[in-house]
Subunit: 359 residues, 4 copies
């Protein structure tokens, strides 16, 4: 344990905070040493402040930790942030200014021109933006973000196709799980046996994040993918796992076999040994009625995007279904693999080492 | 009651058969006098043969009726058919040959060039096809069909827009209720807390039926709408009510207000007083998170299509959500209003009167 | 409309408030003329303040009403109260002091020795307690309550048995719908595909209310039924309708036929013509797998208790299942039928007439 | 792998068969070498014959195995049986006669006087009955059964209490998951947002199995526990995990602390190192709203019974809630741990070794 880097969690009591704790327990590189939450929870023992909602028990060591105030003083230099957008807008810069690497799951800075929005398998090179952040220049700190839970599975499925054939148009209708709204989140009266065809700001986020993620770095900025896109976002009575019906128009024609190969061959992180990255980022499931959230959300320990039902589209070129686990691949797991990538690129250790030296 | 026309139900024990019974109880024009089902049920008392699954009780008179064999001998001349496709393919022609008006909810003959596929509010003039049916010429009998439960709400929402602005492209993703698969239908293990992104043959049916319904009569045949269309069909854990995310490309530009007016002004059956037709076939709901199956499926006593969330589409022109009750508007109610239209056009009474004369 | 009594609703925006509005629309005796809610809603138009959650539309006239402050000044003299317990504890006496008949659904005063806890079919004579209330003596006002949603169906099923055979022991396990917790109420993360074996204070309320309801009036007080009772309360993923597994020990032996007769013959309100009272308060359903919330909750327009599965108990004498609609019979409908009973007993009109005279 | 004992699965394609495969993958003692199913499946490749419904993938090796006919010829000598009762009644004796140890999950022989019904933590000594079986005497083969999924969690929770304080009366109401009915099992139309207060024969099975399990061996037969018991069995919309509300009357008084100690101290298999047996067979969860199927079913890798909400009962002495995973602890896992116990007692190896010698 002495070789692990100390990390902190901002927003540790919420659903995504709990997933961070679950996924970081036994992590080979990182060790949770600091938990922060709202003023209401600060000073309390974690198990008293958090209503643990996961189906594995809260690790005993974490359960007994005292929740710190959300202040960089005393915090480790690597921070996983799982904050509501409004709070993130204030707090994340505070931690970045104080020299922390803020690996954020919030939407506050995802579309900021200097903040990388990253999926390691998709656009690791966007991390270059970090170096232009004022915080980085002043304190060494920075902010890195991962996408919205609805965008991440889609983009993982699109990336290998875009690389080989180009993508010009994207249609997507989501059927999103309730855990995406946190806890207490969606009232049961709203969603039991029901569909809610609306998630606030979700369609806009999904569209702009997708194009930024699939964009390319040009000099010091990201040129979004020049594709047209339309998203319909719906909430369905599913606990975990976002299912998405997708249609795409390609730049160059592709056969079904070529598309399947693009997915099968997609191993952009091969050889990097990031502990949380799945061996097969995009998994194909051949059965005609798959993927399904109940059966497929945990593929790649919840880190894979599962695709199925590839067939010609009457309007664009191809259509398929993609599924990903919204609180693992779509939230906490996304941030953790981002941190693993940052560490492998040498962008975490100096901070942590410097902090250790100060201590 | 002596003035009501006698009708029979083929497939009376299934989910759609039960809806026929529920909706025809107290119907001002029709009176159920004959129930038929599979050989297994034939000869039994209805309440013993059917597992009644509706939340209003089975009418006492019906509960005690004896189920007849599925044979035109002894059947009335107006038949509502709620049969599985394979059985419908054999039985419906048998009844049409025997001089019955077969008002069918099955998919067996929907795409047959001489069989009208009709929604009264949308394409009543397609009923002209009846006169070309061989059965009609020989015995007076004929087959009329209503569309698949997933097509009907969509087409009702599209028709007023098509009339005013033309439609060139249609995108739709469905989130369909389990009752659409009948009983026992979808196993609970498959759908509790889950989404199944596949319904056998549904996408093809939805696409071809939509274009036939929106097509026009030219001479003795239907010219389908010359639009391109793509459907993604999904099953969700909802009891009743299909929700659909729709995007469309118009032939002529339309503002939001013009589209809302097209829906509001759509009263094609005004003055016809069909008892089951809703006063407002397409209902607009303004709240940003509607329509929802739980809250909106029963509008117009389950016979309206409810639309909401109209907004610009990043890929085509406009997008919106439409909802309709799949076993009322999408099945039994659709057939009943077809029969009402046939009666108002004088295409039922002669048969029934002739039958009465024979009797 | 000029002959109807004016009534007000305290707590009009919540789930039970909405049910009051739904059930009182077109009521032959009462007319809603006043709506009150929390300070947050006061002064707003109803449709802006309330998130309407019922599957019939909010009546247009109500939707446009302005919400009044929760103050007796300006309120009508008949008040339906659907308040949270803590607020009811303060507000209901305020209205009773001001001369209002407060027909309450809250738990605040149910166990108060001078406050009648009434189900018209069960213990109408308990209304005598009203006359001992200080408010009654001073201003004419009073408080009448109806039971908890979990107690009401049980007590309706037990009363006819108690009358004929006596009841000495009662065992009940509830499986309660989410609407019992109001809106937003139970988070979907807690209940989708889950059971929560705990509802705060519910078991105690259910036990003590049941015994008070089945008790008898002796002089000026209620002697609770001298039975022993144990309740287990659980929440299940059902929208409306509480299902309860019940076992009972009788004072005198009864055959199955005698118990069925007790239920069938139970018509304590016969001839009183209370508009909301069901013709058959306790409905027996013979099928071995009933009652079920989905299929049976609306019997008697949601006002009946449905019983089924009567069979010998290995421990006590008999066991059965009872179901009732928790927000109709178990809440708003219970209060409305209480008010109807009060009116038929002459305990409402003087107040209202006096108020009319003042106006 | 060469040291593992070869086992076969009868009924390998159903839900319990799939659980056997999932739980035996990587088992340290057993190796699946034979799969059998109905005639319809026999001869097919497993992945073509079975509709895999678990959320971990079917092991590749198993997916490619050919399904054998359900005939002892060619089968290994250790058979896990997951058959429907009617089929089990014929097939299990056939395999026992042929010298197989049939470790059965079916109900066919559970109440047979010579067949042990065993939970290793509860009544391992009942295995003595094997030696009286005719099959055993003739061929070495025998049948051992595990209880119904609703009885097993209850009995695990009761056993430590019975040992210390005696149990005289047992009340239980179950809320059972749909997976208990297999696949396709419960239609979604029956259970979505619903409760079904009936499971065929379940109450009788639960009552008689509980008393046999808690009974003692006297000479060559089992004397059931002399307690009175009543079970109410309900189906709820939960995928996995049976929740049960329990009340008990003790022979000797016990405090809350004594009951908690009885559960905490219950380690009857300590030192036996059965791989599938949970370290803590009865887990106590202190939170007032637990256990819940979603959060607690996987305790002890699905092999523990979780208890909570211990409180005094108004009718008997104590009441509490117990939860267990119905297809792991309640079915496949129960049989596997039975087989582990049999092996540790030397009742498996001779058979298998003899078989190996024959081969």
């Amino acid at each position: 344990m002495q070789n692990k880097l100390e990390i902190g969690i901002l927003g540790a009591t919420g659903m995504v905070g709990q997933r961070f704790i679950q996924l970081l327990e036994n992590h080979p590189w990182f060790q949770i040493t600091w938990l922060a939450a709202s003023d209401r929870s600060s000073g309390k023992v974690y198990e008293d402040a958090a209503k643990w909602r996961l189906d594995t028990p809260c690790p005993e060591r974490i359960a007994k930790m005292i929740i710190s105030p959300a202040d960089p003083a005393g915090a480790p230099k690597i921070i996983f942030a799982a904050l509501d957008t409004d709070i993130a807008r204030d707090l994340e810069p505070l931690f970045a200014s104080a020299g922390c690497a803020v690996v954020s799951n919030s939407s506050a800075f995802r579309m900021h021109p200097n903040v990388p929005l990253v999926i390691p398998e998709v656009n690791a090179e966007h991390l270059h933006l970090i170096e232009d952040q004022t915080w980085r220049k002043q304190s060494g700190g920075y902010i890195v973000t991962n996408p919205n839970c609805s965008a991440i599975g889609l983009v993982m499925a699109l990336k290998p196709i875009q690389e080989r054939f180009g993508i010009e148009q994207i249609f997507v209708t989501t059927m999103q799980a309730v855990s995406g709204a946190g806890y207490p989140g969606v009232p049961s009266m709203d969603i039991l046996g029901n569909v809610v065809p609306f998630i606030k700001n979700e369609e806009q986020k999904m569209e702009e994040e997708t194009l930024k993620l699939l964009g390319h770095l040009k000099g010091d900025s990201i040129v979004p993918l020049a594709a047209r896109m339309s998203a319909h976002c719906n909430r369905v009575p599913v606990e975990d796992g976002h299912t998405e019906s997708v249609s795409i128009k390609l730049s160059r024609p592709a056969t079904r076999e070529e598309l399947l190969s693009a997915w099968a061959d997609f191993h952009p992180l091969q050889g990097q040994n990031l502990p949380t990255a799945p061996a097969q980022p995009v998994e194909w499931v051949a059965a005609e009625d798959r993927p399904q959230p109940r059966l497929d959300k945990n593929r790649g320990r919840g880190m894979a995007a599962t695709v199925g039902r590839l067939r010609p589209c009457g309007l664009l070129d191809w259509k398929f279904t993609v599924l990903s686990h919204n609180t693992i691949r779509g939230a906490a797991g996304a941030a953790i693999v981002n941190a693993e990538l940052l560490l492998s690129l040498g962008k975490l250790e100096p901070l942590a080492v410097a902090a250790a030296a100060q201590a």
